[in-house]
């Protein structure tokens, strides 16, 4: 019975495939390539991905001509409001009613972990560009998603290691109390301890928090040389501003912003942020290729892109190119093909997609320029060092992902 069923199914599939091969459109599911963009469009994380990321995605769609083999590319978006429930329900709805082919964006880690589970249940494809938690391709990995831009592992590896090497060996952690903050805190603690330093204390603050004065006071009381900020977006901005009001730097302590985006530095200004060390996956002014794309983006949006916005373009473009090469938007086939080719473009250097879904690529250690050294309003970083792709990310030998044979 099973045999007959199997043969029957495969002959139908074969027949269908033969039929489809004749009509170009039919190779894409529903004759359309549907991309759903899920991100925080109005809250704390809006400026690092948000509407700018959607614009970057649209640029990628336009650059392949708006359709592939005659199948139009449809883009829709939703605001997840940084809520895991809202995010997961939206993605479920996209699968149930709109047959989404690619879920892009994906910013707050808590939303991503919930959404990727729905993507896995529906055997779809998701490309995560905004999230930071390294657990997304570790204990939370699925065969159905790829993590593109960065994660907490290289952030810790880059920034924390550089700071410990410079003598900053006692740390106090200010951690956002959710998946991402915990992941970053864990990765930083490991790097600090491996390099001979010590984490002497920490506070886990609610997400989001406006007033950091109490936590800064506790950090001052700890006597640690370094105050590590395991948070992001407005939380980091608030913490750095408050620290400057309370004279943290003057009293001999140093801040380590572990996840700082271009828009954060821009918002705080160089006066407050100069000298801050940070790790980034990409910087618009890092070379000619990057600059060229960034300027195209700037003309449309009026702001320079963050690494996440650049990564959204890069990942969508690679996705669409792969769909065009294969002639199908079948998520399993596309995921497999993405894993087989090197990922190199204006965004990614020495990149490849590993079996755990991590897109590893070169990362960069940067320092925020002083107001005197900056030549114009977006001239914000000095790239100090390149962290090679294979050293930056968690090695597969340490992976807890069930897709990795250890």
């Amino acid at each position: 019975m099973t045999f007959i069923k199997k043969t029957l199914t495969s002959s139908i599939a074969l027949a269908a495939a033969t039929l489809m091969a004749t009509g170009a459109q039919a190779e894409m599911s529903d004759g359309e390539i549907r991309i759903g963009y899920l991100a925080d469009m109005s809250g704390t994380y809006r400026d690092l991905a948000g509407p700018g990321g959607l614009e970057a995605l649209r640029m990628a769609v336009e650059d392949v001509g708006g359709s592939i083999n005659g199948a139009p590319i449809e883009v829709f978006s939703a605001d997840d409001r940084n809520s895991a429930d809202v995010g997961a329900n939206t993605v479920r709805e996209w699968f149930d009613t709109r047959n989404v082919d690619l879920v892009a964006g994906l910013v707050a880690s808590s939303v991503t972990i919930a959404a990727t589970r729905v993507i896995e249940e529906n055997n779809g494809l998701g490309i995560v560009s905004g999230s930071a938690a390294s657990s997304i391709t570790n204990e939370h990995c699925t065969p159905n998603h790829i993590h593109w831009v960065y994660d907490t592992y290289p952030l810790a590896n880059g920034t924390a290691k550089a700071i410990v090497d410079q003598g900053g060996d006692t740390w106090f952690m200010l951690t956002a109390d959710y998946a991402f903050g915990h992941a970053l805190e864990g990765d930083v603690t490991r790097v600090v301890e491996e390099n001979g330093g010590e984490v002497v204390g920490g506070v886990r603050h609610p997400f989001p928090t406006d007033d950091f004065s109490s936590y800064i006071l506790q950090a001052q009381g700890s006597g640690a040389k370094i105050i590590g900020l395991a948070n992001a977006g407005a939380d980091t901005v608030n913490a750095i501003n408050t620290a400057s009001q309370f004279g943290v730097v003057q009293s001999g302590q140093q801040l380590a912003g572990l996840l700082v985006f271009l828009n954060d530095v821009y918002a705080m200004g160089l006066e407050t942020t100069q000298g801050l060390l940070l790790t980034t996956g990409w910087y618009w002014n890092m070379d000619e290729e990057a600059r060229e794309w960034a300027e195209r983006y700037y003309e449309r949006v009026g702001r320079m892109p963050t690494m996440v916005q650049a990564g959204i373009y890069s990942s969508t473009k690679h996705y669409l190119d792969t769909v065009a090469e294969l002639g199908t938007d079948d998520p399993v086939a596309v995921r497999a093909a993405l894993g087989e080719k090197p990922i190199n473009d204006f965004f990614s250097r020495n990149g490849r997609v590993r079996e755990d879904g991590r897109m590893v690529h070169d990362m960069f250690l940067a320092e925020v320029k002083s107001p005197e050294a900056s030549e114009h309003e977006w001239d914000l970083y000095e790239i100090l060092a390149t962290i090679p792709a294979e050293e930056a990310y968690r090695p597969l030998s340490e992976s807890q992902c069930q897709l990795v044979q250890n």
């Binding site: 809006r46 109390d177 936590y215 001052q220 009001q245 828009n263």
Partner: protein, 295 residues
């Protein structure tokens, strides 16, 4: 070193002081809400947006008109207050005779519109407003480094709160106001222009929020969402203090700042929720609020 529940005394004192400063913000904002609710029976969900507009007026005033902080302290509440009066005249007045719920929905909708419009132009990262020169730096208090600006915020907020309480509870104007809301028809008969009184009161409540916004501008990034984050907490404060009680709003604001400050030391994970726990406890035991009169 003396320890209080495992925390050095110096740190403990510092946290109390910071809590009090945050409490001053709560007090200022909940005071405006209490005035508006107590006298006009409007549940003003646009209060957070007015606070945000106060901060934006300060920022934009400096950027485009060169208005300095001290002038903004006066001008921003005035401008936002006038804007509030315009809203009252053109919209709130029309639904004054309906259930509270309509006012709540209208003001909530307005708040979303203001916030969304500004997000569209300025994003959410916020912009920095420099601390005025005279209030830069700070001093050692013996147990902590206190930025001068925060000390100023505490003093300014308490002075304004006291002034408001005195005006409403102890002056003739305040008496008219209270009488006008108690029995508008009778006051009209005495020749008092009650509609004007109501417009002015709403404008004043809104101006208090804008004043808090000016105070906040150098402390927090000026961003369109700064008000909505605070508004829910402030409503909880008003509920705890007793809807409409002016003294209650001020004292509860300061008290909740202290409680939140201590939570940040002993169990920071709960810092955002502790006020709501207190609110539940108060509602269970004293439904009219700590300072409210039983209805």
């Amino acid at each position: 070193m003396t320890m209080i529940f495992g925390v050095p005394l110096a740190v403990f004192m510092g946290q109390l002081l910071l809590g009090l400063i945050n409490g001053a913000f709560y007090a200022l904002l909940s005071l405006g809400l209490a005035v508006i609710f107590g006298l006009l029976k409007i549940v003003n969900f646009a209060h957070g947006a007015m606070y945000m507009l106060g901060a934006f007026a300060t920022l934009l005033g400096m950027r485009y008109l060169g208005i300095n902080y001290w002038a903004a302290l006066l001008l921003a509440p005035l401008v936002v207050g006038l804007f509030g009066m315009l809203l009252e005249r053109t919209m709130l007045r029309r639904i004054a005779h309906l259930d509270h719920l309509y006012g709540l929905l209208l003001t909530f909708g307005l708040a979303l519109i203001f916030e969304g419009t500004l997000v569209n132009f300025f994003g959410v990262s916020g912009a920095r407003y420099p601390t005025p020169e005279a209030l830069q730096g700070g001093f050692q208090t013996g147990f902590m480094f206190l930025p001068t600006y925060r000390a100023w915020v505490l003093v300014a907020a308490i002075v304004v709160c006291f002034f408001t309480w005195y005006m409403i509870e102890r002056t003739r104007l305040g008496a008219y106001l209270r009488a006008g809301t108690e029995n508008p028809a009778l006051m009209q008969a005495f020749g008092v222009n009650v509609p004007l009184l109501i417009t002015l009161t709403y404008g004043f409540g809104v101006a208090l929020a804008a004043f808090a916004g000016v105070l906040a501008a150098p402390l927090y990034p000026v961003s369109p969402t700064m008000g909505s984050n605070l508004l829910i907490v402030v409503f909880a404060v008003v509920v705890i203090g007793g809807m409409g009680s002016i003294l209650g709003a001020v004292l509860t604001g300061l008290g909740m700042g202290l409680i939140e400050g201590l939570t940040k030391v002993y169990y920071p994970e709960a810092a955002n929720t502790v006020i709501f726990l207190v609110m539940i406890l108060v509602l269970l035991t004293r439904p009219a609020g700590l300072f409210g009169k039983e209805a």
